[in-house]
């Protein structure tokens, strides 16, 4: 029986602010799951702390709402112990790139087969609107007493430097694009990052729907707004690495795109490289039984509670008499 959108919904009251971009992300995620036809009990939705962090509670799937900045290592633990699970991680921009930046960088290096979706709203939503690490220098949003004293970091460039093998950007309100991007990310063999430009109507009055739509810059000819977002693939951009020689030029191309902002903001896939082995594959070379019986599937005792792990070889090596 085909799964429906409602199969991925819970009864939990959704308490995001009216107009919050998170609604678009949640819906896109649920739609992607429908398309991917993966059973709720095979999906784990993991999140950090922040407004985005409530996401798992709204999705009917295993949900793990972790600690501020730590969603990735929790997720890695789950995925490594049971690689059959479809692990999708949600992070905030503060959560994932501020307090969690160390895990971000070191997750790229591992290339696990997981998906990481960052809700980039430029602010710390849940603590009432302080600047997040993606907010640009000098920008002042509602709740900030003074303009931002730090430069914003570039998450796409950071991901490239860290080694993510799928890097895309999408937009909370382009549900079609976001859904497809999430699907690509999930299907990608390796560590996938999706940065979602997310409105926070409550605290970020700069990067609003109107701003993304370009309502502040009207084309003198058409009289219409000139949208800031544009789709990479519609501009002939192709970030997919198909052979080893592609790596450097595609990386540089992605980086060049990564530094576009303000006037034109690319969405779509910046970079994808499936030539890199996944962490799971690397483990399997060491522990050949890993794919069939990963940690979560190993039997550790017989019916009587007697352990089945034989440590005889090790004890023998330590033997000094007898």
């Amino acid at each position: 029986m085909a799964l429906k959108l409602s199969d991925y919904r819970t009864q939990v009251f959704n308490d995001w602010c009216p107009g919050c971009g998170n609604f678009g992300i949640l819906t896109s995620l649920q739609m992607a799951l429908v398309d991917l036809a993966v059973k709720p009990s095979r999906v784990v939705i993991i999140s950090g702390i922040g407004c985005h962090g409530k996401t798992p509670h709204f999705v009917n799937a295993y949900g793990v709402h972790t600690l501020h900045g730590r969603a990735l290592p929790f997720a890695i633990g789950i995925k490594l112990a049971n690689p059959e699970l479809e692990v999708i991680v949600h992070g905030g921009d503060g959560d994932g790139l501020g307090i969690g930046a160390g895990h971000f960088v070191n997750t790229g290096r591992r290339n696990l087969d997981m998906t990481y979706i960052i809700h980039d709203n430029g602010v710390y939503g849940l603590t009432k609107g302080q600047a997040s690490p993606t907010l640009k220098l000098g920008v002042k949003t509602k709740a900030m007493p003074k303009p931002n004293i730090n430069e914003g970091i570039n998450p796409i460039a950071l991901a490239l430097a860290a080694g993510f093998t799928f890097i895309a950007r999408s937009y909370c309100y382009d549900v079609g694009h976001l859904k497809e991007t999430i699907k690509m990310a999930v299907k990608h063999k390796g560590m996938a990052l999706v940065i979602v430009q997310q409105w926070c109507p409550t605290y970020n009055e700069i990067n609003t729907k109107g701003w993304y739509n370009g309502e502040d810059r009207i084309d003198p000819v058409t009289g219409k707004p000139i949208p800031r977002l544009y789709k990479l693939e519609e501009n002939g951009y192709d970030g997919v690495v198909r052979k080893p020689e592609d790596v450097l030029p595609k990386t540089v191309a992605a980086l060049t795109k990564a530094f576009e902002w303000d006037d034109k903001i690319p969405i779509g896939v910046f970079y994808q490289n499936e030539l890199v082995s996944t962490f799971q594959e690397r483990i399997s070379q060491r522990i050949t039984t890993y794919p069939g019986t990963p940690p979560a599937k190993e039997i550790i005792a017989d019916n009587m509670g007697e352990p089945v792990t034989s440590i005889k070889k090790m004890l023998d090596e330590l033997k000094v008499t007898g």
């Binding site: 070191n106 060491r286 550790i300 089945v308």
Partner: protein, 642 residues
Amino acid sequence: MKNDFIWMAGGPQGSGVDSSANIFARACCYGGLHVYGKREYSSNIKGLHSYFHIRVSPSEVGAIVNRVDLLCTFDAESVVRHIWEVSPGGGIICDTGIIETKISSILSLPFAFIEEWNKSLNERGLHPETVGDLLDEVKKNNVRIYPIPYLEMLKEIGKEIGEEQLSKLTRMINVLTLGASFGLANYDKEYVEKAINMIFGKKPKIISMNLLALNKAYDYARKNFADAGINLKTIRTDEQRIFLQGTQAVALGKLAGGCRMQTYYPITPAADESEYIEENQVFEITGSEKTGGILVVQTEDEIAAITMAIGAALTGARSATSTSGPGFSLMAEGLGWAGINEVPVVINYYQRGGPSTGLPTRHGQDDLRFAIHASHGEFPRIIVCSGDIEECFYDAARAFNYAERYQTPVIHLIDKALANSNKSYKMFNPTLVKIERGELLTEADVVGKNYRRFEFTESGISPRLPIGTPGAVFWNTGDEHNELGHITEESMMRTRMHEKRMRKLEIADREIQEKERVNFFGDEDAPMTIVSWGSPKGAILEAMEMLRKDGLRMNFVQVRIPHPLPRKYIERILGNSSKKIAVEGNYSGQLAGIIREETGILMDYFILKWNGRPMSADEVYEALLNIVQNRAQTRQVLNGGS
């Protein structure tokens, strides 16, 4: 003190102190002797002083004593550092080349050492300039000097094997001193050769070089010091014995106990455990053709280590992380998440001297209180403290049972003295390890039911389901939650859910058997009671034996689970005791504080030590004797060990 022999090797880090000590110890073990070895090293890779203290005895020994019968020095510094430790009648093996070395030219001796050193020389009224002066001094104490021409011997070897690079040859100084040691004792060389083969494993060239060195020095010693009369006789035994260090025992216990995921971030002295596990990550499965595997993951930091371990535990895998103080400090937040989400995760916590980076390679027992109270808020946890290497094995396995039965983090406290000491033991018995997984559900239990991860049940425990089990879902959150695992802030739900969690500590307190929580030694009706935890066990037991020979009786409660404290038991034992003595490797007497908090009973005496060195049997004996003879202050601070 026992009828035993105490050997020590000292030299700069990187010069093979460890391997020589390991060979020495094994050779003795092979000869049916019992061995206890303690390793002391600096937070440095090459050059700073390190030493290995090995005690050999016909019967089992569980501690060191602060005495050396035969000191093998690789360099001048080792002579200077350890010379006063050599017992009258003992001996010193040294390089003939250092006799003329000026003590003031030994640059690696730190200021603080030199200060103390000068003080002690003044007290003794000595003014030695060279190492030779010093050696002359101890000869008066009836210490024998066995000078060996290291350089000449090495050159000879070099010629024989066609190796001219001196730097390669000097690596064998350690084996020279070994050879000399065994030569002095006229010990059966076959055992030594076997040990060398074992330690240098699959490197035949290195083995043969070292065998050559061994024999050279052995023969030299036999020839030149045939009268040394060192007593090291082999004993026939049919007992199967192993020789291992604490980190290995923990690793073995975890494997047997079913641990399948181990995360770690390198740190002294915990990393040894993870590395040993990784070397043995594939193993046989009893009663099956298949092999099994444990995943060992080196993380980017300890925050990732604990949270990754928790993630794995959520899927049903037995999962652990292993660390020391600085790492554990970083785990506090993750620990609390495991607490509120009732995740069975095990932390093997190797204490070293704190605070902060402290004494990164030295012993300490100052983290008991922190282990109990780490992380904001309240949640149950169980603290297991091993007292010796064998206990490390069984406790490491059992920790998972507690974790799963009570669905809560278990902290297995070990200390550096256990981690890096080696001991010979009768073969461990893996069949004594039992696996109890607590209320763990499977698909069949939940399909079609509305599974509630945090259900209020009669037993007080909510049956657990691994994440990923088909047929159900649930939620976890670090927030207070309802039975499904969704965030709640409702007053009544909070009161109940928090109480449900906290009560598990009381359930554990009721259920865990006394014999797993305390060891009792000595006579119930003895007038004095020692209370301790962790590595002092060995020294205390031996000190008690010595006192018993003096006609003095004591008993000793070794607390293996200080939290939840076996309160009634302790009240009963201490209630009958007229002198209550706490022995701990810290400044404040942490276990004593816990006992007073839980029972109101104040210890009468404290024997404490925090100088980074484990307790030795003799210093504990003396401190106890002081108490018996009513000349002890309430607090006695030990300072033995160089």
